[in-house]
Amino acid sequence: MNQFAIDWYLIALLIFTGLYCMLASRSLVRQLVGLEIVSKGAMLCVISAGAYSNNIVFAQAILITMIVIEVVVVATGLALLVKNFRVNGSADVWQLNGMKG
């Protein structure tokens, strides 16, 4: 088994850990943590792919940009969580049922 196979095995494990975290928890904060884990797994995919195709410089360059973008997205998500907690008074994902049809 070469090194990249181990990489991708671990990445798959990481992504499924994140998905399990999302499925198993009711708290919105934990959902966000699960999402973060999934997205970190996807980023590791990019860096591993860059190393595999001898393209590591390009991969590093785009990965840094991706991290910056992701921080912005997560910050917005956290702001939404906080505001939701203030307005609706709960961080339970099952309480998000105000609209039906």
């Binding site: 992504i15 919105l28 959902q31 999402l35 999934v38 997205s39 797994g41 996807a42 980023m43 995919c45 990019v46 591993s48 792919a49 860059g50 595999y52 195709s53 393209n55 390009f58 991969a59 785009i62 940009t65 991706m66 973008i69 992701e70 912005v72 997205v73 917005t76 998500g77 939404l80 969580l81 505001k83 939701n84 307005v87 609706n88 998000l96 105000g98 609209m99 049809g101």
Partner: protein, 476 residues
Amino acid sequence: MDKGLLAYLLIPLFSALVIPFAARGREKLADILANVTLLAGLVNLLWLALRPSVIAGGFEEIPGDGLSLLLVTAIYLVAFCVTFFSAWFVPAGMPNRRAYYSLILVSVAAMTGVVTAADFFTLYIYIEVLAVTSFALISTDDSPKGLEGALKYFLLSFPASALILGGIAVLMMTLGSLSYDNLHIFMSSDVPAGPVVFGAALMMLGFLIKSGVAPFHMWTPDAYQGAYAPVSAHLAGIVTKISGVYAVVRMASLLRFFDGRAQGLSALLMLLGLVSIAVGALAALRQTDLKRMLAFSSISQIGYIILAAGLGTPLALIGAVFHLINHATFKTVLFLNSASVEKATGTTDMDKLGGMEHAMPWTSWTSVIALFSTAGVPPLSGFWSKLLIILALWEAGLKGYAVIALLFSTVTLAYFVMMQRKVFFGKKSDAAAAATEVSAPLLAPAVLMSAAIVALGLLFPYVFSYLKMMAGRIIL
């Protein structure tokens, strides 16, 4: 990056930076700056695309691939209508008025970036910027429903981004580059395409989630219904179309679906399109909230675009792009009208409305034009795009798909006529009794868009020659 259109990205961005500082203490200045920026861009773009010498030359002088220019014009048109509407709709004391206009301008800049990008990485970045501005815009008025819609959008579009990242990784391994041109050249060659198509399929899955196609549509109605009223027009009219559907159409043209190099993906996409048409139309039939019904109708119309993109022949791509433009025009009218109804009566519940026709004649009749265009009544623009899509399906030998698409077009007419009867015709309800027509500036965007619908339908030969030029450039 298409450099000719870079100014249309930078100028709104600059305006968005200026507004929070310049308009402090002078709230009206924010309205004026945002509107002037977008109107100037729109006039500029229309001159670029529609000056007499360009039309006489069969649109051959258009720079770039034509698709970018067309979509940037649509973006500016919808965004201008929304900001013009907002200038009179947003109450004077709203604390975050400057932030609201700034965010709309940033989202315009991001959308321009999406449609002018020439590689998948740039596309990904602009789509994320667009998503961030949409979360903030949906929850503009801090209502519980708006926050709920924004959270649902966030929780579904984040995994979609992870899928796009995975697709980028696979493309980097198999193709060694992320530019559109390389993918296009690769798909024209004879090298077995399996791994590259797998990477493209992962990305496409992400874009399908972001565009709200049937099995992944759960966030769409909530986000549109919960959003602040003018924002839902912005979101439904253009934002989700650019962040999801445009990318799917672009990838369909790059993957050359019509010569069968990515047969499985093409078939899957067409199936999802068809499911989306059916689910959206059937769910729209039983809605009681006006905005929620329009959201389901939006899912159904996206289904037509995805169906045509999945087929991928030049005629189908022409139909898909034209339906994308038409969707922007008629859905903006309908959502802006729902905002007007909400302002006049204070509710969007269709069971409480009724008999608004005499109180709000302009709103009523622009709605009729938009819904006829959606349902495909000739000679309005929606008829031509649906005709092109169904003709393309028939021509490719997919008669079953063509017949089902045609049948659900009549379901579209059914739910819209039902909507019109419940809201505007019939007996006056209590909510409608005190309602009066909204002021002229609030009507102007809907009237402008209705005029665009009629004009695009009546001047179809010119539109078709433009679209034919565009299809030739993006496919070959």
